[in-house]
Symmetry: C2
Subunit: 347 residues, 2 copies
């Protein structure tokens, strides 16, 4: 697989992002949505922040409070034996679980697809109860003249997927929760197929302990049904534990190409590809046995949560995919992969 | 609360049901859907069966195999130390989890609402991959001339809710998975509200370990969106661990009355009531602090899974609710509760 990583990688890091408040620090700038917009490439970058704590024994976390319509700060003592700090992503307290960071989206634009100008302020931030623990992992699909954004909304009642839309990346309209908890890694197909919209989703069955890919259809992008199971983890490969959609599917001659993420039993995240039937995308035609992209470089293997490459967006350029991807839950990287190389690996 | 249990309780037991095959035994006849149909009360009773095992050391379970379009039998040795038999509802093997019984629906009709004639054969049985571990806990809502049935479909990929419909309780049409895993305890409102259909659902967030009630809307009963969180378990009462819808909501002067189930930390299942706004059912107006019905009689406290009263259907008779309910995951009982008594307890 001729994966050409950008020489500038990681192309966006936390150091490139101005915190949204002077008392916050940015700890992640990753998992961006990506889309061609006018002559530019536009990213919606997930920016994870936390209150800056001068005291090492105090962990502080930020939460959006819908009653106050403002961010509130919670403090946890690292000396409190009743609190579990072992997962860097989550603090487990007798009062409940809290995320260690609060995410919003920042706009980044580039004319070359590699060097990005990043907005000084959040362009999309938590604004209701379902988003009180943050908005995460956006995916953009252009349908007609509208850019639809599926994104993960986290709150004490669960991990939902919501829909928003924009025409200009300045004004965003919210369309509510489209997939109820826990369901993330939702991405929309860019056109109707036989008169219906389609989306890949990743519901969870705690009873059977499975995290697998499903597909659903809709008359209006708001309401979803006819859910069908799409893909299971493989038996023994890079994606043998959990899987979920990555970038929005793209239409190619052979069908719908979906770059997805696969997690193995050691919590290593890779990207794979599947090919879906053009007329019935619930039908999986082919799947890569090897990863299309795996964590190899230092910036992919080391960071807030290492050994992770995770894509929410790509742009087609000539006969290649320009894949934007989060690395180690920390930064954003970019790689160009020839379409023919991916097709060759699909079987 | 003046709860008048039927003197004939339990009104349907496994002994009343003819097994669907000579080599099967019926271990449950419970959690029925209920609806007034012509001059009768019609129940769709969940019938749980398992292959009869002559050897105590062999546990046998039945699974619907969609490839063979037939039921296949799996055998597990109780002497195998790698298999966990501790939960009576589920066998946990290195190969995966299996339910200990396979459920289908049997039709039961009655002119007095208490003495039922039960069909000799299943009227609705597992028929596709999503139903391979059985169909469970049906709920009937009459909308127009059609009886819509939401039911739980269990398979290795999760616990889904599916929709079926019938005009005559003889021919049933399937409409696919309407709520993806894990989501059960789904029930439909009997009419559109402001031009939209509504359903209560019970998604699960394994991340935050919550089993709570949500509400969704739909243009067509098939596709669902605008999911909103409806109700959490209470802090300290009968429903402090998990909650979910019970019977379909009924329209009363004060709003929508929903009889739901609440589970406490000792796994005791009771029925409670909530009152929802007539024009915006996502708005909870009132809730009972005490159970409307709790397991007290021997047939409610003892059985396959004791201390359970669980309703999927009721019929309104004069100024009372005739509640049909599963007892101890074993049999079906019936109780009449004056509406005024429930309203008095709503606060």
């Amino acid at each position: 697989m001729a994966v050409l990583r950008a020489a500038e990688n990681p192309i966006i890091t936390p150091a490139n992002i101005k915190p949204s408040r002077p008392d916050f620090e940015v700890i992640g700038a990753f998992n961006p949505a990506a889309v061609a917009y006018k002559d530019d490439v536009v990213l919606l970058v997930r920016v994870a922040e936390r209150p800056f704590s001068a005291d090492r024994d105090i962990e502080m976390t930020a939460i959006y409070d819908p009653q106050k319509d403002d961010i509130v700060i919670k403090e946890f003592s690292r000396l409190d034996p009743s609190i579990d700090f072992s997962d860097p992503r989550m603090t487990i307290t007798p009062e409940g679980k809290f995320l260690t960071s609060l995410s919003h989206f920042r706009l980044a634009t580039s004319c070359d697809g590699v060097n990005f100008t990043i907005g000084e302020k959040p362009v999309f931030r938590p604004a209701n109860f379902y988003e009180s623990f943050g908005v995460e992992d956006p995916r953009i699909t252009k349908i007609g003249d509208t850019y639809y954004i599926t994104y993960v909304a986290v709150s004490p009642v669960g991990v939902n997927t919501c829909l928003a839309s924009t025409q200009d990346f300045e004004v965003f309209k919210r369309h509510g929760v489209i997939f109820c908890p826990d369901n993330k890694d939702v991405t929309l197909f860019p056109e109707k197929i036989n008169g219906r919209y389609y989306a890949v989703s990743r519901p969870v069955t705690p009873l059977f302990e499975k995290y697998e890919m499903w597909i659903a259809e809709s008359p209006d992008l708001l309401c979803w049904g006819n859910h069908k199971h799409l893909l299971s983890p493989s038996e023994s490969d890079f994606d043998n534990a959990r899987i979920g959609a990555g970038a929005p599917p793209i239409k190619i001659e052979q069908g719908w190409l979906e770059i997805y993420h696969g997690v193995d039993s050691s919590n290593r995240y890779c990207l794979g590809a599947i090919l879906l039937d053009r007329d019935d995308p619930s039908n999986v035609i082919a799947r890569t046995k090897e990863p299309v992209l795996s964590p190899q470089r230092d910036y992919e293997t080391q960071g807030f949560f290492g050994n992770v490459v995770f894509s929410c967006g790509l742009v087609v350029k000539n006969e290649s995919l320009v894949v934007y991807y989060g690395v180690a839950d920390t930064s954003t990287a970019c790689a160009e992969i020839p379409l023919c190389d991916i097709l060759e690996k699909l079987s």
